[in-house]
């Protein structure tokens, strides 16, 4: 990949294997990218947040980034704390 977001090395009895990875912008999943893989095989590009997404999030569609989801989770926790729950 031109701008990978991660790097993985698997070292086993048959030798080692290196892979670039990216992290899905919507669900934060690690997606390995095999060398010479076609773009359709490893997910897609979200045209809203303009970041790479995993195959599952590509099928779901829409744009709800993990950052936005964390903001909502944290806001809910703050609300519940303020309400004494």
């Amino acid at each position: 990949m031109r701008k990978p977001q991660g790097y993985a090395v698997e070292t086993g009895p048959d030798g080692s294997r290196e892979l670039d990875t990216f992290t899905c912008s919507h669900c934060n999943r690690i997606v390995p990218v095999k060398p010479l893989a076609t773009p359709e095989d490893f997910g897609g590009l979200c045209k809203v947040c303009y970041k790479l997404v995993c195959p599952a999030c590509t099928k779901i569609g829409g744009c709800l980034t993990w950052e936005a989801q964390m903001d909502a989770i944290e806001a809910r926790e703050r609300f519940l704390k303020s309400a004494g729950i």
């Binding site: 991660g6 698997e10 009895p13 992290t23 999943r29 993990w66």
Partner: protein
């Protein structure tokens, strides 16, 4: 610009079985978000060609684990705000369909992942939330030894 503080935690699952058992949890702090940028998976049992499935997933309750104190990579840094646990005897409550990593590996293999800045696994600042690393082995010869995880995070 503030440099994020980096910490390391190490955990293991003492008895890998045919159902997922958690070896390491990284538990959120309500004060700050955390970000896992490195992890390493392996085993320390008798070498054989069994297969383990490793999974990293989000949880909303931390389960029952042996407490692990994250170690600061810079000794000048204060104690970590996030916490960690090892060798779960009561499994965390994992959120369905939130696996961040799922890979089958030969028992003899090790797997290392490191993130480029911006590619980390993010943990929200919400109590009892976090990311857990679990493993199982079902394919014969099934592995029943120790599974090991090393993880680095910054906060």
């Amino acid at each position: 610009m503030a440099v994020p503080r980096r910490y390391a935690e190490v955990g293991n699952q003492s008895t890998v079985s045919s159902s997922f058992k958690t070896g390491l949890t990284v538990i959120a702090s309500t004060s700050t978000r955390g970000a896992i940028y490195f992890f390493n998976l392996g085993t320390t049992g008798t070498a054989a060609d069994g297969v383990l499935e490793w999974r990293a997933s989000r949880f909303t309750a931390a389960g029952t684990t042996t407490s692990v104190t994250p170690v600061a990579l810079d000794p000048a840094d204060p104690a970590a705000l996030l916490s960690a646990g090892s060798n779960a005897t009561g499994e965390p409550t994992y959120t369905g369909a939130t696996s961040l990593f799922d890979q089958g590996l030969n028992q003899r293999a090790t797997y290392t992942w490191i993130a480029v800045p911006g590619g980390e696994l993010l943990i929200p600042a919400t109590s009892s939330n976090g990311i857990g690393f679990a493993m199982l082995s079902t394919v014969s010869p099934a592995y029943t030894g120790v599974g090991n995880i090393s993880c680095h995070h910054f906060e």
